[in-house]
């Protein structure tokens, strides 16, 4: 009797959560998919998908988006893993972590404008280049600056999960590996890295997926030299008002994200928890 009551109370706790998910996650996705089957005149059609998959522009754009998201993720990972690793070895990791997270408290737009100031012709970066004798360079509106700024913005989201999985790592595994004669590199590649892989995967998810549809930075920092699917979605919703086509691109992005989740997720739970505890 009592048990039954507790059970129903537990389900009651779930109601807000389920409502939230249904209203704000599932319903919008269904609406998006529904919308993608209508053309600009409001007729039911599959033409949007046909256009998408037969248009050079959209396919190139998809390729572009994935490629740049990959580069951003790679750059972020290369910086974040060593950072997280060293962070774990410092005396006050929480303080350093706080400093890394701090930039996320500032609005993205403000950060982008700050970079415009740094990278512009008369900006600090160019002043420095002139000072060391290289002379001012065109920094803004290059692919490099786009990846640089995007990586800067994403780093906290990569550092956090990696740091967590490194700090959860049981030191005795590392000691055991050393005792058994493994070199530093072997210890890292055979023991530490595989054990922290769940954190890396979570970080990759957190960075790759938003990077796929970055669109404000493509204009502000990239000067539209980098075009991603986000640019096309913005245009379809705001200027052409072809919501069907915009939704179609949205659906393709969602599918791409599901694929990424599936590729990077999967065995996370089983291998992760089992070994570290």
């Amino acid at each position: 009797m009592q048990r039954k009551q507790r059970l129903s109370r537990n389900t009651a706790y779930f109601v807000p959560y389920v409502l939230w998910i249904a209203l704000f996650v599932i319903a919008p996705v269904i609406l998006l998919i529904y919308q993608s089957f209508f053309n600009i005149d409001g007729q039911f059609t599959l033409a949007n998908y046909q256009t998408y998959f037969s248009s050079n522009t959209y396919l190139m754009m998809t390729l572009n988006s994935v490629w740049y998201a990959f580069l951003i993720t790679l750059a972020t990972l290369l910086i974040s893993y060593p950072t997280a690793y060293l962070l774990n070895a410092t005396k006050h990791p929480q303080l350093w972590l706080l400093l890394i997270i701090m930039p996320t408290w500032i609005n993205l737009l403000l950060k982008a404008y700050a970079f415009i100031g740094i990278f512009s012709q008369a900006g600090i970066a160019n002043q420095f280049l002139s000072f060391i004798g290289i002379g001012p360079q065109q920094l803004l509106f290059t692919k490099f600056s786009f990846i640089f700024v995007a990586a800067y913005i994403q780093i906290p989201f990569m550092v956090l999960p990696i740091y967590n999985s490194i700090s959860e790592l049981n030191a005795s595994y590392v000691n055991a590996s050393r005792d058994l004669g493994a070199t530093n590199w072997q210890t890292f590649s055979r023991v530490i890295f595989p054990l922290t892989l769940p954190g890396v995967k979570a970080g990759v998810q957190a960075v790759f997926i938003p990077s796929l549809s970055l669109f404000m930075l493509t204009r502000l920092i990239g000067g539209n030299k980098v075009i991603t699917l986000g640019t096309a979605i913005e245009e379809h919703f705001l200027t052409t008002m072809n919501w069907g086509m915009g939704s179609t691109i949205g659906v393709v992005l969602i599918i791409a994200m599901v694929i990424i989740m599936w590729l990077t997720g999967g065995r996370k739970r089983r291998s992760g928890k089992g070994l570290t505890k």
Binding site: I40, Q121, A122, Q138, L140, G223, N224
Partner: protein, 356 residues
């Protein structure tokens, strides 16, 4: 946790009290609650001094809300739930709103000062006999250049942009109609062309401009040009006038072979409620003295002829912003195209952006 919760509650209470106080203050200082006018306009598009003067003269308090694109404004008014009394769409959008039955016709008997408006800017194709709209500002699309990098007078026509010496020097405004439009104008085609082959040719010509294009950006152009970041930009006259005011090296050119002529007109959306205030405001803005004050503050060209005469000579005779009749004759107003045609423009434009 408890501390955090009490801190958050405290913040909310303080914000709530402040908001209540501000609201109360606004109501008491803004005379009676019903004497208001809800103006929905572009950001920074009216001299705040005029709003104060209007309130002093008529007693109506003007609530200003802003939008940043015609399309955003259209969507918001169409969805309803708003109570805007006046808004300021551009030419093609007036046509579109008219077709969507979002506008109320003007009651000409209640309007005074309509004779002040230059006949060249009245009775245009987007609103015949000005049944729905009163001119507010007009302007052009043109080329801004910096005389530190470009010899003054060496850029006169659209085709000059294609010269190889301007490699990586040009900034374009991120707008499909305008970028495709100047490519069309440079080929002596109509800026309202909808023939797919013509649009394809315009895109191909733009692709050849790609090596010269430094960036395709939006409002930031203003900041970049003022900071000497680029030598040349393609932008609207209103933006140009702000740039010129902050950097004396900049010049604005309207190519004489043709460019876009645009209008922002005051219209009454169907959500309007305060009709007395609306007509008071329209008549107030038609007064030459007020129109001139507004034009001097905003820096756009006024369609009000006596108001133009009141402006300082340096503004009135500035060929950059008040082009010659000869140039005006070659300017073209955008027509409201069907969604499919707008799509065509955007697809070609997207292809150009991919290419560049």
């Amino acid at each position: 946790m408890k501390k955090l919760i009490s801190a958050i509650i405290g913040l909310l209470v303080v914000c709530g009290l402040l908001a209540f106080g501000a609201n109360h203050l606004e109501r008491t200082s803004g005379s009676t609650g019903a004497k208001v006018l809800n103006l929905y306009t572009w950001g920074d598009y009216i001299d705040p001094g005029l709003l104060k003067k209007f309130q002093k003269e008529t007693g109506y308090h003007v609530n200003v809300e802003t939008f940043d694109s015609n399309e955003a404004m259209f969507t918001k008014i169409k969805q309803g739930g708003t109570s805007y009394d006046l808004t300021v769409p551009s030419d093609y959008m007036i046509e579109k709103m008219k077709r969507a039955h979002l506008l109320l016709p003007l009651d000409k008997n209640r309007l005074t000062g309509m004779q002040n408006y230059d006949s060249r800017f009245m009775n245009l194709a987007f609103d015949r006999h000005n049944r729905y709209s009163v001119p507010y500002f007009w302007g052009t699309l043109g080329i801004i250049y910096n005389d530190k990098f470009v010899k003054p007078g060496s850029i006169q026509h659209w085709d000059d942009l294609w010269q190889t010496k301007y490699h990586d020097q040009i900034m374009l405004i991120d707008s499909a109609r305008d970028v495709m439009g100047f490519s069309l104008a440079s080929m002596n085609k109509s800026m309202n062309a909808t023939d797919p082959a013509t649009l394809l040719a315009a895109r191909n010509k733009l692709n050849r401009l790609s090596p010269n294009v430094k960036a395709v950006v939006a409002d930031e152009i203003k900041m970049y040009m003022i900071q000497n970041e680029a030598a040349i930009a393609v932008d609207w006259s209103g933006e140009a006038s702000e740039m010129l005011a902050s950097n004396s090296h900049l010049h604005y050119v309207v190519p004489s072979e043709g460019s876009n002529l645009w209008f922002d007109n005051l219209v009454i959306p169907k959500t309007a409620k305060h009709f007395k205030a609306i007509y008071a405001f329209l008549n107030f803005m038609s007064e030459p003295k007020n129109a001139a004050q507004n034009a001097e503050y905003i820096g756009y060209a006024t369609p009000n002829a006596p108001a133009k005469a009141l402006l300082p000579k340096s503004i009135r005779n500035d060929r950059q912003f008040y082009p010659s009749d000869e140039t005006i004759r070659h300017l073209q107003i955008y027509k409201d195209l069907s969604p499919a045609k707008v799509g065509l423009y955007n697809d070609r434009y997207l292809e150009f952006k991919m290419n560049h």
